[in-house]
């Protein structure tokens, strides 16, 4: 003969198993009625307690209570499991995560770091120079003639008091300063802020950032310049880019060149980003002019070198699809938060 307490245990075990197997809310509710309902299995067993022998009543009663607790908690778990909200109704796992109070790096900082990282991986030293510069470094030693238009007041910011101090118009003077304490072979980049006497609009700023590059060694070739830059742009844009060097003129290089990159947006078909030419002008570059090499105390017979200067703001704008350079210096959080 099976005692009532054993029946309670069996009922609880069966009920817990069935509830655990129930897959829908409706099934759980049906089981709840079947086991815990007013006319359910548990109630039926409880009814038999009345007629149990007195000495066993408390033992049976405890078993009955255990069964009720087990079934009730099994129902709660099964309900939580089959409910859309997941577990306990007091816990809402869909609430948003608490904000982490970190700031963000400006996209220009991110661009500059990426540029520096790529060139460092190619063994380029980073060097820096002053932003207010002597005309000697900004123009003279770079073979920029005394009446060259870039020296005009309408192109270059001069500091008050004399005409020998400017806000550097490019990062090229850093080359000259760096070479005062170096001998070839050198590989260096000079990232930094530069200034042009220009009215501000969506694509022009009186102040922007450039990265200069200089390599001097035995046997440096024009083709090395193009290959190095193509490798850089492929690394920067994280894809194989197509570049097109074309002839150009800067007084401090010879041969001089500009490097164009097939438009990343239209793949060369022509779009508004590339002014329907299919190509993006990326930078000016060339083989360091013998006069400039001499100004660096480098023997132009033994060594050759290349130099380039790229606009970092432009790289940033291309990378992030920005159309207005002015956002960059706005200090606007709506802009800064995006990066």
């Amino acid at each position: 003969m099976i005692l009532l307490d054993e029946e309670f245990r069996k009922l609880a075990a069966r009920g817990v198993d069935e509830l655990a197997a129930a897959e829908t809310r409706e099934a759980v509710e049906a089981l709840e009625v079947r086991y815990l309902g007013r006319k359910g299995h548990l109630a039926a067993l409880m009814a038999r307690l009345e007629s149990a022998p007195r000495e066993l009543k408390s033992r049976f009663g405890k078993a009955g209570n255990d069964a009720k607790v087990a079934l009730t908690s099994a129902v709660r778990e099964a309900k939580a499991r089959t409910s859309e909200r997941g577990a306990d109704t007091a816990f809402d796992p869909t609430l948003p995560g608490l904000p982490v109070s970190a700031g963000r790096l400006h996209p220009l900082t991110q661009t500059m770091r990426r540029v520096v990282d790529i060139f460092r991986s190619m063994s380029f030293d980073v060097v820096e120079g002053p932003e207010a510069e002597l005309t000697k470094y900004n123009f003279d030693l770079l073979n920029i003639g005394a009446d060259h238009p870039s020296r005009f007041l309408t192109d270059t910011f001069y500091l008050d008091g004399g005409r020998d101090r400017v806000l550097r118009t490019h990062t090229s003077p850093v080359q000259l300063r760096a070479m005062e304490g170096r001998k070839p072979p050198v590989r260096l980049i000079a990232p930094g802020r530069v200034f042009r006497h220009e009215a501000t609009d969506a694509s022009h700023e009186a102040m922007f950032f450039q990265c200069e590059g200089l390599v001097i060694d035995k046997g440096i070739r024009l083709t090395d310049l193009f290959g190095t830059l193509t490798a850089f742009f492929s690394a920067f844009f994280e894809r194989e880019v197509v570049t097109r060097p074309r002839a150009s003129y800067f007084p401090f290089v010879e041969p001089g060149a500009e490097l164009e990159m097939r438009c990343l947006v239209c793949e060369g078909k022509g779009c508004s980003v590339c002014s329907h030419t299919g190509w993006l002008e990326m930078l000016g570059c060339g083989m360091v002019h013998p006069t400039v090499l001499a100004n660096m105390n480098v023997d132009a017979k033994a060594f050759s070198g290349f130099a380039f200067g790229m606009g970092l703001d432009r790289l940033m704008m291309l990378k992030h699809g920005m159309h207005d350079i002015r956002l960059s210096t706005s200090g606007g959080l709506a802009f800064l938060e995006q990066f």
Binding site: R104, D147, R187, R221, P255, T329
Partner: protein, 762 residues
């Protein structure tokens, strides 16, 4: 025009090769595509204006547009140019749907001048009857002209490309096809011109030639000439001026024509005298400076040499005799004058870059002979002062060295052919190539210039791309750079946003910020008064941005790391890399201080840094010193500063000269204690005159048994401040007994009572 000297290659190829060779080339779009062919289907009188008519125009799109027109030459059935609403015309007018004297007008019928096709405003341009409705007018005119205009960007080293002949020669060389320059090379016949020609400024004017033509009749030039000038963006004037301009386009040699009757006795090339002025053809009167070069007669300057002519001496309809000038002027002199006066012209564009003196006389003879053919007259004679250019010298080039510089080898025959096609004389052997550049290529001065020519002829885009071989050494980074970027990271982790502001500001911001005006570096030629000073602090512009953001946001932090400038005795201003932080919102000061401490800790300077109370121009706050040297300030922005910047919330600023900061040394590990700690809270009142720094000093005397003291609550009430601290006690050698901790806590309390008159609350 290019066709006359070279067989023009297919357009896309032509544009590409010119671009790669250094002359970015694009087709000039003559008219917007929204100027289309329409036909006039009906003309009605305007109900409210006698001079206007109301036309109904069909552009082939199924609708009939009503357009009001004032021209008298329109007839029903004519094909005319219709500028649809939204069109921006070459003359700057933008067409919009409008109501003209009470009648709606949906577009505009265009006259030739409105389309930038000359100055004819006599009536609407009537198109050929064969023109198809709705087709862009630009295409109709182009197909009629059977030509396109190409625009080249020319670098300043290539003035020869400012002529059709120069471009033709370049195209012929690039495509290795024959170059057929103008067949005749007329020569000038020297002879008196009736006025004395003198050149006193020989350095600025090495060559000056004047040709006199008598008996001319000044009329319009031929339609073909006019069309060519328009295609080049020039306005036809009369046959003499037009032919001079046309030959200038062809040869690159600018001319100027004087009316002989309006020249008094002499033509002298001289520097302007002080106080002289010239009423120029553009209607302006220019005050001349002693460095300006002028052509003057016995009375006054007639022309600003090579830049612009005067009103009183030019060719008019009444002119019967002309003095035609062709000269070479020093580019630098003209550049200075052109810049100073703000005058540019087609002539100035060429002179300021450099004119090939070897073509001057033949170009003068050419234009004189064409003028006599079109305008009649006879050449009286030509006076020449000065000499044509000096003989260019040969460059000795080591071809293998040039090939090494380029990075590729080129067969010697190809090198010779390419350089020869560019007009150079090539002799010598492969190891010593002798290259003599032509007169128009004064930019070829060193063997590297020849290397560029060889590379250009090969095509930069066809060269292989290689990577340089190198001795690999670890790349170095300046400490200052690393300090900057580490600091940046620390602030970003702490919740501040990295940003960049301008390097300039003006007097107003300097006043708002209370900065010393005299320590600023001034820009000699600022864009505006608001950008006339180099910043000595980045805070003013950060505060401007913060004030704007504070209207929308309760709480945020912005920072910039960048160069600031202070006037200095040396040749250059003193530059410093400043960290500038603005924190806005509740508890701004303590948040700013937390950011600063976090950065100091990240840079490993905690033990070397100390703060001391010190107010600054920004407000109350502290100074931070590293190794005893001042390294930055921290301030709760005063109400006055906040008002000046219209910042409506609580704010704090930090400013640190990062030159004082260094990179962290490796952290020295200290063993962690294996014994448990005991925590106790302590709360007490002190008078508000007691700074927390004093409390901290008292409490910290109880180290090392007191491991740490963390302030977790602070509030002020009736002149007293309540502080609540979490205190952690522990020993590094044993498990601390609760009684020991409580005894130490009691001693801390006693000290606070004794030194700070604290009223212990718990």
């Amino acid at each position: 025009m290019l066709r006359e000297c070279v067989t023009v290659p297919p357009l896309p190829k032509l544009l590409e090769r010119l671009t790669v060779a250094g002359f970015p080339a694009t087709v000039v779009e003559s008219l917007p595509s929204s100027v289309v062919v329409g036909t006039i289907v009906r003309i009605d009188p305007h109900p409210n204006a006698d001079r206007l008519q109301v036309t109904s125009v069909d552009i082939g799109d199924g609708a009939v547009r009503q357009i009001v027109c004032g021209a008298k030459n329109i007839r029903k059935g004519q094909k005319v140019p219709v500028a649809l609403p939204g069109t921006s015309l070459p003359n700057g007018i933008t067409i919009a749907p409008a109501e003209i004297r009470g009648v709606a007008s949906d577009g505009m019928l265009c006259a030739a001048d409105e389309l930038g096709l000359g100055s004819d405003h006599a009536g609407i341009l009537v198109l050929p009857a064969s023109a198809k409705l709705g087709v862009p007018v630009g295409r109709v005119l182009a197909s009629k002209a059977n030509d396109v205009a190409i625009e080249l960007e020319v670098t300043p080293n290539r003035p020869d490309m400012f002529s059709i002949r120069g471009v033709g020669r370049e195209v012929a060389a690039l495509f290795a096809i024959p170059f057929r320059p103008a067949a005749a090379h007329p020569t000038v016949k020297r002879g008196p011109v009736g006025v004395t020609v003198s050149v006193s400024a020989k350095k600025e004017c090495p060559l000056y030639a004047v040709c006199r033509i008598d008996g001319v009749r000044v009329g319009a030039s031929t339609p073909a000439t006019q069309e060519r000038l328009r295609a080049a963006g020039m306005r036809p004037v009369n046959a003499i001026v037009d032919l001079a301009n046309l030959v200038m386009l062809e040869t690159g040699q600018p001319f100027h024509a004087f009316d002989t009757a309006r020249v008094n006795g002499t033509l002298s090339v001289r520097r302007a005298a002080k106080g002289e002025t010239l009423a120029a053809l553009d209607g302006a009167t220019y005050a001349l400076a002693p460095n300006d070069l002028v052509i003057a007669d016995a009375r006054a300057p007639l022309v600003i040499a090579g830049i612009i002519g005067g009103q009183g001496s030019g060719v008019t309809e009444k002119t019967t005799s002309i003095l035609l000038e062709a000269a070479v002027f020093a580019p630098a002199t003209l550049r200075a004058t052109s810049r100073r006066l703000g005058v540019t012209s087609d002539s100035a564009a060429r002179f300021t870059r450099g004119v090939d003196a070897s073509v001057t006389l033949s170009a003068l003879a050419e234009v004189a002979s064409r003028i006599t053919r079109v305008s009649g007259g006879t050449i009286a004679g030509t006076t020449v002062v000065g000499a044509t250019s000096a003989k260019p010298h040969a460059l000795r080039c080591d071809l293998p060295a040039l090939e090494r510089l380029i990075g590729t080898t080129v067969p010697i025959a190809r090198v010779r052919k390419g350089l020869t096609a560019l007009g150079m004389t090539v002799s010598g052997s492969k190891t010593t190539l002798l290259v003599t550049p032509p007169s128009w290529r004064s930019d070829i001065r060193i063997p590297e210039d020849v290397a560029e020519e060889i590379a250009r002829m090969e095509g930069y885009d066809r060269l292989p791309q290689t990577l340089p071989s190198a001795t690999l050494a670890p790349a170095t980074l300046p400490d200052a750079y690393a300090v900057r970027e580490k600091t940046r990271d620390a602030l970003v982790v702490g919740g501040a946003y990295d940003t960049y502001t301008h390097a300039f500001y003006g007097e107003k911001l300097v006043a708002n910020a209370g900065l010393p005006r005299e320590r600023h570096v001034r820009i000699a030629n600022p864009m505006s008064a608001e950008q006339s000073l180099l910043r000595m602090s980045a805070l003013p512009l950060l505060l401007v941005a913060a004030a704007r953001e504070a209207r929308e946001r309760e709480s945020f932090a912005l920072f910039e790391i960048g160069t600031c400038f202070v006037a200095a005795k040396g040749p250059l201003p003193e530059e410093s890399t400043m960290l500038s932080v603005v924190v806005v919102g509740e508890d701004a000061y303590r948040r700013a201080k937390g950011l600063l401490h976090h950065a100091v800790r990240t840079l490993g300077m905690t033990d070397r840094a100390a703060t001391s109370v010190r107010a600054s121009a920004w407000g109350m706050g502290e100074e931070i010193a590293v190794d005893g040297k001042p390294a930055g300030t921290l301030a709760l922005l005063s109400a006055g500063r906040r008002a000046a910047f219209k910042l409506q919330r609580e704010a704090a600023v930090v400013e640190v000269d990062l030159r004082a900061w260094t990179l962290p040394k490796p952290v020295r590990f200290s063993p962690t204690s294996a014994y448990p700690t005991i925590k106790r809270d302590l709360a007490f009142w002190v008078d508000e005159s007691v700074h927390y720094a004093t409390i901290e000093k008292v409490v910290s005397r109880h180290r090392p048994l007191l491991r740490s003291a963390e302030l977790f609550d602070v509030f002020t009430k009736e002149g007293r401040v309540s502080y609540a601290l979490h205190l952690t006690f522990g020993s590094s050698s044993k498990t601390l007994a609760a009684e020991d901790a409580d005894a130490e806590l009691a001693r801390v309390s006693q000290d606070l009572v004794h030194h700070c008159a604290a009223d212990i609350r718990t």
